[in-house]
């Protein structure tokens, strides 16, 4: 059994060694608020992973925030259950001007496998114009980050046709 300081030092060195290189991009820091709106939770878990030290989210010019009032972009996962529609609207309303809506995953884009039913509204595209959609079921943290960087730089995302067609559509 190693001593506690040695264990911590070795772990720290490993985490430093594994730390991914940030994706350099131009422009200001973009603050992200994530909202799960009814899904298998796969996309929401990938967003959690994206926020971990295994991915260079902060180093790439993004910051996760705890309140929509502080956010520039609203990242939505899930097919938008009717129950969540109110929370989604409230979060959107609370955001400051210049806000953007980004659908993360197939469900958030168009419902994915969960189209319009008695309980779901079938994704954001049926409800609102979105700034960008990141396809995948679930999309990997790396592909989410890549798409976010491309959306931030104002270009189309190569991660899929949804992102290409939907990018930069709506800023309010």
């Amino acid at each position: 059994m190693q001593s506690a300081p040695l264990t911590m030092m070795l772990a720290f060195l490993d985490v430093q060694k594994w730390r991914p290189r940030p994706v350099r991009r131009q422009g200001r820091r973009i603050r992200l608020f994530t909202l799960e709106a009814g899904s298998c939770e796969g996309c929401a878990m990938e967003l959690v992973s994206l926020g971990s030290s295994a991915y260079p989210l902060e180093g790439s010019g993004f910051q996760r925030v705890q309140h929509p009032e502080d956010a520039d972009w609203l990242l939505v996962t899930g097919s938008v259950t009717r129950s969540c529609a109110g929370d989604l609207a409230s979060a959107w309303e609370a955001m400051p001007a210049g806000r953007s809506l980004v659908a993360v995953g197939d469900c958030a884009h168009d419902g994915g496998l969960w189209k319009n039913t008695y309980a779901t509204l079938g994704g954001l595209h049926a409800l609102s114009r979105v700034y960008g959609s990141i396809p995948g079921c679930p999309p990997s943290p790396a592909s989410i980050l890549q798409a976010l960087v491309e959306l931030a730089e104002g270009g189309s995302s190569p991660t899929g046709s949804h992102a290409s067609s939907a990018s930069r559509r709506s800023r309010q």
């Binding site: 506690a4 298998c40 939770e41 878990m45 009717r82 129950s83 929370d87 039913t117 008695y118 779901t120």
Partner: protein, 479 residues
């Protein structure tokens, strides 16, 4: 007639483990056998109310009674774990349980466009006229877990009391989508019921179908599935360990777990699987990939040293996890709490022992009794290391013969898979090759009945740590 030590009233046997009894027989059995069997799950539709029990010797028993004029005698008055199933049946099919412990809505929060949507005659609901649930102090998307769980409580002397939870926000109408599909059409949906079981859910479903159709699978396919289940266990345990460490302020430990999980995901893609094993279980053809042995070797080689490092570091944050969200042993047994939660609380049941081809020599029966976040983290670490041993054992005698039972085709099947978060059960009924009925029992169901009491007495600031330490994934229950 008897099943184990349980004496069943006269009834009709309709499946391998399934009996139908009269209303009197139902009540008699519930009253007489409270101490002899555990209630795993409960569901009801417009025709039958069904309870899934686990008897001594880990033998399942399905017991049904007819629903008459939309009513049946509640099971929850004798088995409180049935309450969420009764509430969900009321919302989805409009059937009511007499003398139910709780008859408040569980899924229908007034936002649906139909009332009793799975009944033969669902009623349209005009927008804004549904009956809303009371608003929670913490909105469903605000808790520390990735899924939707509303939490309400009263603050007394700085701690939470009268804690209640809601899962309605996450209801997607899964069952309404599944009924009427062929099993093959249902697979993509079942594969996305819960990220807490991208393997466990479809595996339990496929096993139920194979039992219903009396289909035997190839021995290598059996082993591919067992391997995938262990890889998923590793990934989810690492996720839960990381979230627990993060909430406890143990950032370095969280980082190690996050990196290990992403390394595992990378190994999956490098060997032709999806990162989180979505769609890796197949109804027909081979699950996973053909070259499973090199995959397992890479996983063992890549993850084992990281697990050892995590184990070393874990002891440094032990103190922050003690006494958090303690699940007493008695509660674990009374409510049949499975998975890590059960095994960290003195209920050492593991449904993997029921699996055909299980390598019991690799399973150490690790278990704890403390029941708190510390015990669960220790249990996850022990089970992660055990998962590597199980995979090594499987590849050592890949495709080995095992005892097989020939069963008759009944068009009804019960399947189980011991996922990372506990035992997932599926009950399916086929009619002309399509799903006439599907019922899903996720391991979170029994926990919901006691979650409030487990959280009571904690400060609101401890809520995030308590929830993530339990590894909750409401999607599998909200459906």
């Amino acid at each position: 007639m008897t099943e184990g030590s349980v004496v069943l009233p006269e009834g009709e046997r309709v499946g391998l483990f399934h009996y139908r009894v009269t209303a009197e027989g139902w009540l008699h059995l519930l009253q007489q056998n409270v101490r002899l069997m555990s209630l795993l799950g409960f569901w009801a539709d417009e025709e039958w109310a069904t309870a899934l029990f686990l008897l001594q010797g880990e033998q399942p028993l399905l017991l049904s009674t007819a629903v008459v004029q939309g009513r049946y005698q509640a099971a929850s008055q004798y088995f409180p774990a049935a309450q969420w199933g009764e509430r969900m049946a009321r919302d989805l099919w409009g059937v009511e349980a007499w003398s139910a412990l709780d008859d408040s809505p569980a899924l229908d929060d007034g936002s649906w466009s139909l009332a009793a949507p799975l009944s033969a005659r669902p009623l349209p609901v005009s927008e804004g006229t549904g009956q809303p649930l009371p608003r929670c102090r913490i909105a469903p998307f605000r808790t520390a877990i990735p899924g939707l769980l509303g939490v309400d409580y009263v603050l007394a002397d700085g701690v939470m009391q009268q804690v209640e939870v809601q899962i309605a926000a996450g209801h997607r109408g899964v069952l309404s989508r599944l009924v009427g599909l062929t099993p093959q059409e249902a697979m993509p949906l079942v594969a996305r019921i819960s990220a807490g079981g991208f393997v466990a859910h479809p595996l339990a479903f496929v096993r139920a179908l194979e039992q219903a159709e009396n289909r035997q699978i190839d021995l290598r396919e059996r082993d591919r599935r067992l391997i995938l289940l262990e890889v998923e266990r590793l990934g989810l345990h690492l996720f839960d360990l990381a979230q627990t460490a993060h909430q406890a302020g143990a950032g370095l430990m969280a980082s190690l777990c996050d990196h290990a999980r992403e390394h595992l995901a990378g190994l999956c893609t490098a060997h032709g699987l999806s990162r989180r094993l979505t769609d890796s279980i197949r109804l027909e053809g081979s699950s996973g990939v053909d070259a499973m042995i090199p995959f397992v070797q890479a996983v063992v080689q890549g993850v084992a040293p990281r697990l050892e490092q995590i184990r070393q570091l874990a002891r440094l944050s032990d103190g922050r996890l003690k006494t958090i969200a303690t699940v007493p042993t008695e509660l674990a047994w009374d409510y049949a709490l499975g998975g890590v939660i059960g095994r960290a609380s003195g209920r050492y049941l593991d449904m993997r022992y029921m699996d055909e081809g299980v390598r019991t020599r690799a399973m150490g029966g690790a278990g704890r009794h403390e029941g708190d976040a510390w015990a669960r983290s220790r249990q996850r670490l022990a089970e992660s290391q055990e998962a590597l041993k199980i995979m090594e054992c499987i590849v050592a005698d890949y495709g080995a013969e095992s005892e097989r039972q020939a069963m008759p085709r009944t068009d009804e099947g019960l399947g189980v898979a011991e996922g990372a978060r506990g035992d997932v059960w599926y009950h399916v009924v086929l009619k002309e090759g399509r799903l006439a009925s599907v019922q899903i029992r996720d391991p979170l169901v029994p926990l919901l009945a006691v979650l409030g009491s487990v959280l009571e007495g904690h400060e609101p600031e401890q809520l995030g740590l308590a929830l993530v330490s339990l590894g909750l994934s409401p999607a599998g229950v909200a459906l």
